[in-house]
Point group: C2
Chain length 108, copies 2
DNA sequence: TGAACATATGAACAATTGCTCATATTTGAG
DNA sequence: CTCAAATATGAGCAATTGTTCATATGTTCA
């Protein structure tokens, strides 16, 4: 073939950095759910506690808690206790960037 | 509450643009698989046919075909026939941008 | 301390997903 | 036209996922 050289180079890159692409897929998996995306979008506007989030999403407080657990264990959000409430907020601006990036494609 | 006004505004935004965020999640769902990410990354380097892709991924030709079908129906890749082969390539640069964006977070 | 509120957690279940296997379909060579 | 190579497709299956329900944990206030 003509481009067999280029292909083996690409193959090398993919197999060598396999774990990196696995992490990448893992990251996108977090954004791949409607509820989680909405939670993250909301948090780009303001920090919020669980009951506030479950108020405007049409899902149970329990469901919100489960999703927040995923977001927290992925280090995308952090928590702070405020009396009886636990306030969630974004850990950094990466989330904002990723959402904006995807938005550009969706709103083409 | 202090910020109830801000909250209702956020709630409005989320519920009003609900379908938009659904599409966003749908988009990320495509990137949320290791095989698909690797295929897309490979295609950022060069156009390739099915057999070439299934060569460096450790999955069946059938599996690759199934994934490419998803990528094509999502308009992320396009096809071109070259003899017996069908050559796949990215439809535009959005894919590149999205991958780069996620990479930045993964390789922090 | 006890009642009420806010959040977390575990079990269970339906739905989705990505793969393999077997089998079409399409194309080029002879 | 026939055969082999390349790709597509459908059925079936195991694994994962997102939700709900019930319940546990933790905090405030009286």
């Amino acid at each position: 073939m003509d481009n067999s050289l280029a292909l083996t180079r690409i193959k090398e890159t993919i197999t060598r950095n396999g774990e990196l692409f696995d992490s990448l897929a893992q990251l996108y998996k977090i954004f791949a759910d409607s509820s989680r995306v909405k939670i993250l979008v909301a948090l780009t506007q303001s920090e919020m506690c669980v009951s506030e989030i479950s108020e405007f999403l049409s899902i149970t407080q329990s469901a919100v808690s489960h999703q927040l657990r995923i977001l927290k264990s992925s280090n995308l959000v952090k928590t702070r206790r405020d009396g009886k409430n636990i306030v969630y907020s974004l850990t950094d601006n990466h989330v904002r960037t990723i959402i904006d990036c995807g938005m550009e494609h969706v709103t083409e």
